[in-house]
């Protein structure tokens, strides 16, 4: 990919976030998509490419009245939307499509019209994980952490503190689910879900959606919105069962996606003004900081503890409050992307003054997959 060849011209979340039993899953996709089209002055007939995860993208296209000539149904968890952005850049550069819509909608809390998740006991997960009492993500995504803590002699309070710092950012956002200040003691003493993880170290479960529209940088100049250029991108995957993660202290998917986003963008760590790291659980920003190379091994928790990522710090991280405080419908990656776009447009309620670059790093499954996008509000 050529840095800056493609830009995000339309971006929006659903009109409401939170508990939305009055909207079905597919309508959350449509509400976000209509908002993104309105954001940049487009109609369904102007869109010629569609991408979404978990749902069939054709179903979303038809519901919206879009006739796609490019379809991407990559569905590898909550970072699928970062991967859709990467694929959209390649598709637009090569002429496969001119204007691509990426949608996400998820009735994660209210479960209205959701595509069912099947369980088959003959699949590998059915044979080798489900018999041991795994249920939802808190019973799996957290398993590697004790090994990390022991390897680097890190106290669990350093993980709890991630939730505390992100709550500081959430306080800026009227749309955030939780905005009241937290202390490390609050997090440590909250109801235990999967020891050593209390409920305040686990993400929310809410309803919502978001959508992005991308086109060539050349066409982006004619849109009413400020273009947000894609400077680089990476994607990767490792496994689909957390028990088979090769290193419990570091994600192979994070490392490979990270290598690719640095290489394709040509940027270095000191060039990054704003950072999003998908936080389904409080340990993820720590793994992300280390696997992306912002910190040495075992140092991510200290980096956050020392205030580097909090409001006023040198590397603002998860400035919407993240999946821990802002919202999390199940596949959170779209909301991380939306905050990166707001920061690049200068419209975030927690705006980082003068930010010119934003790195948005996602996870899929339980450390299964990763997608990473480098944005800038300046053409290279």
């Amino acid at each position: 990919m050529k840095p800056g060849s493609v830009a995000v011209v339309g971006a929006a979340e659903t009109t409401e976030l939170g508990k939305l039993p009055h909207m079905s899953n597919i309508q959350l996709h449509a509400d976000a998509a209509l908002n993104a089209m309105a954001d940049c002055g487009l109609k369904p007939e102007d869109i010629d490419g569609i991408a979404t995860a978990r749902e069939n993208p054709i179903e979303i296209a038809h519901y919206l009245g879009i006739k796609p000539r490019y379809v991407d149904g990559t569905s590898v968890g909550g970072c699928s939307f970062m991967i859709h952005v990467r694929h959209a850049v390649a598709a637009i550069e090569s002429g496969m499509a001119d204007t691509i819509l990426i949608t996400h909608g998820e009735s994660g809390r209210s479960q209205v019209g959701m595509t069912p998740r099947g369980v088959n006991m003959a699949m590998l997960d059915g044979q080798f994980q489900l018999p041991y009492g795994t249920t939802n993500p808190p019973s799996m995504f957290t398993i590697p952490v004790l090994r990390y803590l022991k390897t680097y002699n890190v106290p669990i309070e350093k993980v709890a503190n991630v939730s505390v710092v992100q709550r500081e950012w959430a306080a800026f956002h009227e749309r955030a689910t939780f905005r009241d200040p937290l202390t490390v003691d609050d997090v440590m003493n909250a109801r235990m879900i999967a020891w050593p993880f209390s409920i305040l170290m686990c993400c929310l479960v809410t309803d919502g959606g978001g959508a992005l529209i991308l086109t060539s940088a050349e066409r982006a100049k004619d849109f009413p919105t400020k273009p947000v250029y894609v400077l680089g991108a990476g994607e990767a995957g490792e496994h689909t069962m957390v028990s088979q993660m090769s290193d419990f202290t570091s994600s192979q998917a994070f490392r490979i996606a990270g290598e690719n986003v640095w290489k394709s963008s040509g940027l270095k760590h000191s060039d990054v003004d704003h950072l999003m790291i998908y936080d389904a659980f409080a340990h993820l920003p720590i793994y992300g900081l280390e696997d992306l190379g912002f910190c040495g091994r075992g140092e991510g928790g200290d980096f956050i503890w020392e205030g580097n990522t909090r409001p006023g710090g040198k590397l603002p991280l998860n400035t919407n409050g993240g999946g821990l405080s802002y919202m999390h419908s199940g596949m959170y990656g779209m909301y991380a992307l939306q905050e990166s776009i707001r920061q690049m447009r200068g419209t975030s309620p927690a705006q980082v003054q003068g930010a010119k670059t934003s790195l948005c790093h996602g996870v899929g499954g339980m450390f299964s997959a990763s997608g990473s996008i480098m944005f800038s509000n300046e053409a290279p």
């Binding site: 369980v119 088959n120 006991m121 003959a122 590998l124 059915g126 044979q127 080798f128 994980q129 489900l130 018999p131 041991y132 009492g133 795994t134 249920t135 939802n136 808190p138 019973s139 799996m140 957290t142 398993i143 590697p144 952490v145 004790l146 090994r147 022991k150 109801r191 235990m192 879900i193 999967a194 020891w195 050593p196 993880f197 069962m241 957390v242 028990s243 088979q244 993660m245 419990f248």
Partner: protein, 138 residues
């Protein structure tokens, strides 16, 4: 079996049948890549290291260490261990990782120490499935 199994019951596939057959005899049967000599899991009839079909099965020691875990505080609708119960990953002496439960052991952070030696034990769920679990090594 008259007693209803109180766990989700694995269903073997042609590629994993030898593993479950081994469990029925109280053995952990792993596979090894004959080109690299390295063991692997879960079962498949080729090497994930080289892509070669030049592989063999062998009986593993059934010994390993507790590699990492969580203690789930949520009740499970179909499970014979009451919450809180630990969901663990063990690293076998042969180098592979397996998810499991640690039985004959309190489900507490004090009792469950990382790197403690564990050995395999089995729980019969059905006539076909004898599920491998682990317990502290004696």
């Amino acid at each position: 079996m008259s007693e209803k199994p109180r766990r989700p019951v694995p269903k073997a596939t042609p590629e994993t049948q030898h593993f479950w057959d081994g469990c029925n005899q109280g053995k952990i049967i792993l596979q090894r890549c004959k080109d690299t000599g390295k063991a692997y899991f879960p079962p498949r009839p080729f090497s994930p290291y080289t892509g070669s079909r030049n592989v063999e099965t062998f009986e593993a020691s059934g010994k390993g260490v507790l590699w990492s875990y969580i203690i789930s505080h949520r009740d499970h609708p179909n499970f014979d261990m009451p919450a809180p119960y630990a969901i663990a990953v063990v690293k076998l002496d042969e180098g592979v990782q397996m998810m499991t439960n640690i039985v004959d052991c309190d489900q507490t952070p004090d009792a469950l120490q990382l790197d403690m030696p564990v050995q395999v034990t089995f729980k019969r769920l059905t006539d076909d499935i004898n599920l491998p679990l682990f317990k502290p090594a004696s």
